[in-house]
Symmetry: C2
Subunit: 335 residues, 2 copies
């Protein structure tokens, strides 16, 4: 066997500088995709396989991104995870997945100190979670995806939850609903807060008040949406429309209505939030505010890669539009 | 600051041998849980944080398990992933997740050579996949979970798909169905093969033949189940029961029936396989063969940890029972 190729050999073969080869090997986003492909092809033909551990010791890079997530069995989270895996893989990065329901903060804390990863994607930031604080204090590049925290000096990529919720509220008000149910989550973070406040703002503007008896505060599972629907719809004067903050809760509401023999949308309209793949299934046919999952993940991974090579760049907060997708669980096309 | 504690100091503090401290640090399964907890408590109080990379270089261990999976958006796979995360985390192991739909085999091949992980859990083994071959040839401890391969010299933990399918077939035959639809997947692995052959064996025993016009071969998505139902149920003499090989396909079948105005179970019974959480939702209320996800994952992780410390131990193949769970998509309680 001949000696292993050096980065100088590889640069010559690929017709690029040694610095470019090094940038490809360290997943620097500044390399253009064609050059990256050419260098990888040369690496492949030369059977060049850097020893990952030795290289990580030398460069301080592991080409691995830590992803924090809760409830991967929730349809929206499963889609988000799928997209994160796809995008990381497309730029040559691996994913270590921590489910923060299962991994107590103590073990996460140890991980942060161990520098197993080049950066973090946090998808479950809440006000009282210390995870984002720990991640930032560790000095590891970190991007908040999907769930943001106001005023936190950290790259964040989120959907415009306030505007999406506002559009849902305006749609119901314009269709003439005045008896409206709100199945809400506690405000553990910006997402639930904005998904409630935007909705309320639209109804306020239209002069529609949500009655206290039509507001139910729930937890995240399907069963909680189910129970809320049963409570709201068994009243003497039930709401003619129900808005909730996730598709999973909306599926529970549809199932709760079904169990009572209440027909959607004839007796009650239902609107969810996330526009998961399941929302389009006949069983649900759910009107829902769409989260731009693909754009959120693409943008977030791009910001993270930039932060890894340039830790001092200014923080960016990117907010992406969340359009209302109307289906059979509501009867009107939007104005 | 005082000097960092040595493993001798830690052993003394915990009242155990240095070898035991070392076994805890390397996640050796032979340490009993109480001792493990005590040692971890001492480590925590001493603020002992081994540098993961340095330790990995020295011990050759990363405390990280590579998990190969496809379609994390499929409800069954999401539940399997959730359980794998929970069990690995409970024994102090991290998970690198590769979605083999996104990660081409070339990159997986590089990962295998880089020794980023102590072992692999493969959840998507198919006959023509080279992944399990590559994993085994790399010498990395590997366990097949959920999907097995006949005759492969590798630890495998699977559900008893043949028997589960047989029970579903016997249940339909005993209820008097003679016009039975089969929505089948190609036999890309043992799972789909056994889920068809067990079903057919039960019908054969009962003298029930499946007519060629009642067999539809499909891909994995919900939409394929939907299309199959439309094809089967729009015949002049449609089947009175349909069995399929995953819950996801069964949900598609239920939605396809719904779109045609066909009532379940009055006009047609539907049986799925997996018994996912969604199967219990009112929208589906699906009779399904249950996969023992928890037992599969617990057993698989245990075998993997044993294989990591003892690469020469004999291969084990564990098959766990898959009971039929009867719900409203079929009308009879089983005999």
């Amino acid at each position: 066997m001949s000696r292993p190729p050096t980065s100088r050999d590889l640069a010559r073969l690929a017709g690029v500088s040694q610095a470019t080869v090094s940038r490809v090997l360290t997943n620097n986003p500044k390399v253009n995709p064609e050059t990256r492909a050419r260098v990888l092809q040369v690496l492949k033909e030369a059977n060049y396989t850097p020893n990952a551990l030795a290289r990580a010791m030398k460069t301080g890079r592991t080409d691995t991104i830590g992803v924090f997530m809760t409830r991967v069995t929730s349809p929206f989270h499963a889609e988000l995870l799928d997209e994160i895996g796809r995008v990381l893989s497309s730029v040559g990065l691996h994913m270590i997945l921590w489910n923060i329901e299962h991994d107590p903060e103590e073990s996460v804390s140890r991980v942060l100190q161990q520098r197993l990863v080049d950066g973090f994607l946090l998808t479950s930031a809440t006000y009282d979670s210390t995870l984002h604080t720990m991640a930032l204090e560790s000095g590891t590049p970190t991007v908040l995806l999907h769930r943001g925290i106001d005023g936190l000096d950290c790259d964040q990529v989120v959907g415009d939850n306030w505007q999406g919720a506002y559009d849902a509220g305006r749609y119901l008000a314009e269709a003439g609903h005045t008896e409206i149910g709100l199945v809400r989550l506690e405000h553990t973070g910006n997402t639930s807060r904005d998904r409630e406040n935007g909705f309320r703002a639209a109804l306020d503007e239209a002069g529609v008040k949500i009655k206290a008896r039509n507001i139910v505060t729930v937890g995240v599972p399907h069963a909680d949406g189910h129970a809320a629907a049963q409570k709201l719809l068994s009243q003497k004067k039930p709401p003619t429309a129900i808005y909730t903050m996730t598709d999973l809760l909306a599926f529970g509401i549809l199932d709760g209505a079904r169990a009572l023999g209440v027909t959607v949308p004839d007796d009650v309209w239902v609107i969810g939030y996330d526009n998961t793949d399941l929302a389009a299934w006949e069983s649900f046919d759910l009107t829902s505010v769409a989260q731009p999952i693909h754009a959120i993940v693409e943008t977030g991974v791009d910001l993270l890669r930039q932060r890894i090579v340039d830790p001092d760049r200014p923080t960016e907060i990117v907010t992406l539009p969340c359009p209302l997708v109307v289906r059979g669980s509501t009867a009107n096309t939007p104005a």
